[in-house]
């Protein structure tokens, strides 16, 4: 796993980032920093700009103003795959598996195109298969390795999404609503998995509607409402913030 860099250097810095769709302001001057090794929860009502922020961080969308810095270097102008190779992986809100490939092959894509595209020793074909098998057993899909994504349940699809993001061997993992539609025990499973990954050195941003999961996972909580950051701090304090309460109860 990646060695944690200096504790006081933020891993990710989002500096005054804005995004507009025609007239609609999706993000309005967001500033946010994530320290290496942190577990950050990002919440907000529907349409508050969470996914847009993720897309701007990951390079799927270009931000209009502001800067996104990763390990101190600006990422403006980098394409999504370049950001992935630098160590920034995401899972999609709606699972987007490679439908023509088996579950194990789905993981080979990031292993070949991210891990093996970085400088340093490359994984051999056997090591790639081994790593894919390891990741699948980590998320609990070991017995589905040969199946096609269309034969998976919704829950398994989300696990595959997570495994594929992890296969890129990221320093920062952004999990975009990995738990929607899951049962209580499954939510607990995934939270435990994410915490285990974090202990191995991966910084994680969790975007989630299930408050129970967010509260048990996050060390810090950021709240977005209408493209603005309205709270940032310890989860217990943030959740009692009158402004946050108003935003949630008001909808």
């Amino acid at each position: 796993m990646t060695a944690p860099i200096e504790v006081d250097t933020p891993l990710l810095e989002v500096d005054n980032v804005s995004k507009r769709f025609d007239g609609f302001v999706a993000l309005d001057g967001i500033t946010l920093s994530v320290a290496a090794g942190e577990r950050l929860g990002l919440i907000g009502p529907n349409g508050s700009g969470k996914s847009t922020l993720v897309n701007c961080i990951c390079g799927t969308l270009a931000n209009e103003m502001g800067t996104v810095r990763f390990e101190g270097a600006t990422m403006n102008g980098l394409t999504a795959h370049e950001r992935t190779r630098r160590g920034l992986a995401r899972s999609f809100q709606l699972p987007r598996p490679f439908t023509s490939m088996s579950v194990a092959e789905n993981l080979r894509v990031p292993l070949l195109y991210t891990v093996n595209a970085r400088s340093g020793p490359h994984l051999s074909a056997a090591a790639i298969d081994e790593r894919a098998a390891e990741l699948l057993s980590l998320v609990g899909l070991a017995d589905k390795a040969k199946q096609l994504p269309r034969d998976l349940t919704q829950v398994e699809m989300r696990k595959l999404e997570l495994a594929r993001a992890l296969a890129a061997d990221p320093k920062l993992l952004i999990a975009d609503e990995s738990m929607a539609g899951l049962s209580n025990t499954e939510v607990a499973d995934i939270v435990a998995l994410l915490i285990r990954l974090n202990e191995r050195g991966i910084t994680i941003i969790l975007i989630e509607h299930i408050m129970r999961a967010v509260m048990s996972f996050s060390q810090r909580l950021v709240v977005l409402v209408s493209g603005k950051k309205i709270a940032d701090g310890a989860p217990d304090e943030v959740i009692r913030d009158p402004e946050v309460e108003r935003a949630y109860l008001g909808q």
Binding site: T84, F98, V109, L112, A168
Partner: protein, 430 residues
Amino acid sequence: MRTLTFFLVCLAVAAAVFVLARLVGNDYVFFAGYVVLQYIVLATAWNILGGYTGYVNFGSAAFFALGAYASVFLHKAFPVVTTYFLDEPYALPIPALIVIGAIISGFVGLGMGYLTLRLRGAFFAIATLALAVVLQTLITNWSYVGGARGAYVIRPNEIEPIGPYIHYLFLLMLALVVIALTVARSIERSRLGLGFAAIRDDELAAEASGVPTLKLKLIATTISGALMGMAGAPFPYYIGYLQPSSAFALDYAVNSIAMPMIGGTTSWVGPLIGAVLLGTLQQVATVTISSSVNLLIVGLLIVDCVIIAPTGILGLLQGRRTARDVVADQAVFALLFVINVIPIYFLHQEALSARPLEIIFWAVLIFLALARGRMIGLPWLVALPIVGAALSVVPGPSWLWLVSALTLVICLACGLLLRPREAIVRSGTP
């Protein structure tokens, strides 16, 4: 290493094909075979972009024509003046022309990709079509390569040590087939092929997994374009007189899409199967029935393939779709049935030599009757089209044709009106 084995096997098969063609001893085999081989290269080339990466290219003819016109240009620009007027006017041997054609078409492919690959789906397809139109207009107005009136490229009759020139062209095209198939297969099994498949499945997810999508798409258009240019380079020597309408013919665009679709787009075998089947059929149809029924046959066969085997013949063979799925809906059954009766009717009015072509459509009818008959619990239904086929194909008095038609009508009516057995049991009727 495995690629090398595959390459050698391909070479051996190609050598066998050449020897067999020589044994037949009729040059027509070479003329017809050349076209089929050319389509194998075109279909394989199209599939690298269209099948593996998922970007439909309607401009195959443009790349093909570029290769052909590059040859015309070089043929005119570098003639060698010798005492033998007909035997040695060629400064550049055709293999060199093929390489040059590949380079030019590859570069145009790269350029087109760079301009258009930020477009997705239908927009990309339209852009490629536009490229073909623009290029055709340019060539038509470029009088150096013949312009609208066309250009003559006189080929020698013989070449040492092979013999007739068409044998030489056939051999070259066989070599191109070997190259194209080896390239396609090695891409399919490589990291590149995995990246292509990722792009086809989900471009956004591919990018998020670290796949440099734009770069890979450019590689795909370049390889695909280069292979098409290679296929086009010897064409002026084959046809002897090249004009824009023959180099930019719609056939190339349509066939290079239809053939992989019919065969199956996910593997190198698909375009090969599709090109051999459809290409051979077109050649046979052109000889036996020299009329527009030819087009009708090919068109209806494509319709059959799209409905019966939407994932190609490969998909059908791999059991991704069963006969039961095809005929489950009685409307689909009836539509397919009627579609396959139409060409039989037209073929029947053609010369007797066209009768063998009917067999293809009878076979589809028998397949449909078999599948539908099993479903509705009347296995004997299959006997009707078999009787019909026997009466129709075998020459006899004309009233036999009426009996044959009657069997088809009965078969269609049974298939359309009777419901599947489960439904009958449920409604309680005997």
